[in-house]
């Protein structure tokens, strides 16, 4: 989800990369969107051979929250795995 604006994320791709089922990803996306952390928009211009994709991206608040969450997770990991070099930055 932390992807830049040039490479777009849509439902199926997110499922693949996060290794989660669509049944988990889509409701989460909607919840995040409602919370203002994620923004979604249609593919522009509409492609010819298939229906439009729905792209998702983090909003600026979302990006901050994500960074904070990752930092918190890494901190927690470091506490439990004290001697590894870098935690598990992703």
């Amino acid at each position: 989800m932390g992807a830049g604006p040039d490479d777009r994320i849509w439902g199926f791709r997110l499922c693949e990369e996060a290794d989660l089922g669509s049944g988990t990803v889509y409701p989460l996306l909607e919840r995040l969107e409602r919370g203002g952390l994620v923004r979604s928009f249609w593919e522009e211009p509409a492609p010819s051979g298939r229906p439009r994709r729905r792209y998702y991206e983090l909003t600026s608040t979302g990006r901050q929250e994500a960074a904070a969450a990752i930092a918190a997770r890494n901190a927690a990991r470091r506490r439990w795995l004290p001697r590894t070099a870098h935690g598990g930055a992703s």
């Binding site: 439902g11 089922g21 049944g23 909607e30």
Partner: protein, 446 residues
């Protein structure tokens, strides 16, 4: 679909029963259903035969006959061995009526005999119980003139409706429609509605047997003699690659008597009809595909091709109208950049998640509603007190009524604990929901 616009003139010239079928449509996998409201007019109006299968419907016939549109070629009443004066009533109402006796039993056989006797260009099948309105026939004819081969009435499209259908029947109808679209490949909104109008030249495609005699009293019915005839005709028309269109229609309550239809047993008959047509009579489909130079796909292949589409549709329905826009997103998830479908296993795996996703959406919606209700209580000091007071008051009252004041004193510690728990949970809920009652002035303001 364009093919059929040009077939209009051909249909006009086509008075003889020799079949000239249009198989072009079947190549699209049979997705030939289209709601058609084309208002094409033609110089010489086609002759319309109305076929009315009737079994002991003497009391309903006057209503049906009164609604018949003018200018009909003929009216045929098929008498299903009625024991009331159905035949006499029909003759009295309309001296030019043609009476046909069916040779076996059941609605399907009545339909078959009536169709075999009809001589018009267009045949309209009308139930005799007054539930379908013959005055709608011109609408169907218009659809046929607009290029359709077969017009099927639907109660569940815009402009249609019913005052007679129960929830159970609506649900059953929907399930059967889904089954039908998975197995046969065409989308119907209403499968089990006995109002169809079609060109007589397609009769051979329907393969209804009006000739085989069964000894009377034997009680034997042939396949297609029962209520399944409506769905059989639709299946055979669709699978022969005919252009089938749905026409909105309004179903009235039947006027006299009770329906001869049973939701469960006839539902199963229809289901059986769908399965049987697919498994045991594949030839029509085979012909249609051979005409297109393609091999007939196996049952497994057709189902697995259609399944993702069906599941997506069901999930979208479950997810509610406010998420209908997801259809594009979900459909495009199954395709790569160039519109080529992903591998079947990928698709099925992904599509399988749409249903739980829809359920979770609904749970979220419900939680949002409950959350709003909870907020509405928490934000007002008075409402909170009322509810918390009730939660506290009920045990107090119970103890008091059972053991009197003494009981309250002995249970004071648990009551105090309950009170504390209530206070704590209110403040915890307020913190969790981020709701604060307005300071100072307790209520009034909302």
């Amino acid at each position: 679909m364009k093919l059929f616009a040009g077939a209009l003139e051909q249909q006009r010239a086509d008075a003889n029963p020799a079949v000239e079928l249009h198989y072009g449509n079947a190549g699209a996998g049979g997705y030939g259903l289209k709601r058609c409201s084309v208002g094409a007019s033609s110089p010489a109006p086609p002759r319309v035969s109305v076929v009315i299968p009737a079994l002991n419907e003497a009391r309903n016939l006057p209503h049906v006959f009164a609604r018949l549109p003018p200018g009909l070629h003929e009216v045929i009443v098929v008498d299903g061995h009625s024991v009331d004066d159905t035949v006499a009533t029909a003759r009295r109402l309309r001296p030019d009526v043609r009476i046909v006796r069916q040779n076996r039993y059941g609605k399907g056989n009545a339909v078959a005999c009536g169709l075999a006797a009809a001589t018009g260009d267009i045949i309209a099948l009308v139930d005799a119980d007054g539930s379908v309105d013959p005055a709608e026939i011109p609408r169907f004819v218009k659809a046929l003139l607009g290029g359709a081969d077969f017009a099927q009435g639907t109660r569940f499209a815009d402009g249609g409706g019913s005052s007679d259908v129960t929830r159970l029947r609506r649900l059953g109808n929907w399930l059967l429609s889904v089954l039908f679209s998975v197995v046969v490949g065409s989308r119907y909104t209403d499968l089990c509605y006995g109002y169809s109008v079609f060109w007589r030249r397609i009769l051979p495609v329907l393969r209804l047997d009006a000739d085989t005699d069964v000894p009377v009293g034997g009680g034997t019915r042939l396949w297609g003699d029962g209520f399944e005839v409506d769905v059989l005709m639709n299946i055979r028309a669709v699978r022969a690659g005919l252009m089938v269109t749905e026409v909105p229609s309004y179903e009235h309550s039947r006027i006299h008597g009770v329906s001869n239809l049973n939701a469960f047993s006839d539902g199963f008959r229809v289901m059986r009809a769908i399965a049987a047509e697919r498994l045991y009579h594949p030839e029509s489909k085979a012909i249609a595909h051979r005409r297109n130079g393609a091999r007939r796909p196996s049952l497994m292949a057709t189902i697995s091709e259609r399944l993702p589409r069906q599941v997506t549709g069901i999930a979208l329905k479950m997810a509610g109208r406010q998420r209908a826009h997801l259809r594009d997103a979900w459909d495009s998830d199954l395709l790569d950049e160039n519109g080529v479908p992903l591998s079947l296993s990928n698709r099925l795996r992904h599509v399988a998640g749409y249903v739980p996703a829809a359920i979770r959406y609904r749970i979220d919606d419900l939680a949002a509603v409950l959350g709003r209700a909870l907020d509405a209580v928490l934000i007002s000091q008075r409402r909170t007190r009322t509810i918390a007071g009730a939660l506290f008051g009920i045990p107090v009252e119970m103890i008091f009524s059972r053991e009197g004041l003494y009981g309250l004193v002995t249970n004071a510690d648990s009551l105090a604990a309950l009170f504390a728990a209530l206070c704590a949970s209110v403040s915890w809920l307020r913190k969790w929901r981020g709701v604060k009652p307005p300071e100072k002035k307790k209520n009034v303001s909302r």
